[in-house]
Amino acid sequence: MSICSDHNAPNPVFENPWHAQVFAVTVALNEAGRISWSDWAARFSETLRRHGLNRELDGGDDYFMAWLETLESVLAEQETALPEEIHEMRAAWEEAYLKTPHGMPVRL
């Protein structure tokens, strides 16, 4: 397959807003001394390797899915954010979206 059919096209830095958000959360935690970058790279590499076993990752959404999964597991291990906590907060956000009239800012 060709890697670079559109490598000259100007691409947005982050394809989706959540890519930028999850990136920024990780960098912020690193700068606060809560995640070392070499540990992060090792963990993230391992997730990418595992995800890439059965299919070829394209470096877009799948790349940031692996990023998010890695971050969640690091935070769970540190007991900084436990899976139950994330699950509940995620549900709270979903409910907030569903209850907020279209066009209004969504708040918890």
């Binding site: 490598h7 958000q21 990136f23 994330i86 279209h102």
Partner: protein
């Protein structure tokens, strides 16, 4: 907005991973571990400020100033720090120079380590399995797909980045560029030429 109100009586539900990221952000913010304003600053920096124009400035300076070039090739990290380009993750940056004998190309086979302070966030293809696997295995074919044909006598050397060491390629200065200012030279330096998957533009 492309959506009509009657199609969406409530706010549009973001995709599943976006909800999970929002949940993390809320939890970490409430625990005082991150500051939403700092997140905005990080996103703004990488989205709007840091990009290949920084790397291009370094390359153009190296083409113009032999002493700077020597210092850069010798130990780039302090030289770049002095210019205000340093890694937020404390990584070292190594500059590798293309010559008629050797063409350098950069990859991160394990994830996507990249010289952020000089090039910003890597493009999608740099993060793809295809590039990460094939850059090492068949660099000449990959280069050909990028439209780069090297003379037969030029060897390709592939550098595998790590969390600690990130590489920047110093491409060869294009011919017929004598007398160009650093600014004009920088305009010839493409992002891909600093990853090694491209060559600088030809002087107009």
């Amino acid at each position: 907005m492309p959506h009509d109100d009657h199609d969406h009586p409530h706010a549009l539900l973001p995709p599943e991973p976006a909800l999970r990221v929002k949940a993390l952000e809320t939890i970490l913010t409430r625990k005082g571990l991150i500051d939403p304003a700092a997140l905005d600053e990080i996103i703004d920096t990488y989205q709007n400020r840091i990009g290949p124009q920084y790397g291009a400035k370094v390359v153009a300076k190296a083409w113009s100033d032999p002493e700077f070039r020597r210092a850069l090739l010798d130990d780039a990290t302090p030289v770049l720090s002095e210019m205000g380009f340093y890694g937020r993750q404390g990584e070292h940056i190594v500059v590798v120079e293309n010559t008629p004998q050797t063409h350098n190309m950069v990859v991160c086979t394990l994830c996507s380590c990249y010289p952020w302070p000089l090039l910003g966030i890597p493009p999608g293809w740099y993060k793809s399995d295809a590039y990460r696997a094939r850059a090492v295995r068949e660099p000449r074919r990959v280069l050909a797909e990028f439209g780069v044909e090297l003379p037969k006598g030029t060897a390709v050397r592939v550098w595998d980045s790590t969390a600690e060491i990130r590489y920047l390629v110093l491409p060869m200065r294009p011919e017929d560029t004598d007398g160009l200012s650093e600014e004009d030279l920088a305009a010839l330096v493409t992002r891909d030429s600093m990853i090694g998957t491209g060559l600088p533009k030809v002087s107009a």
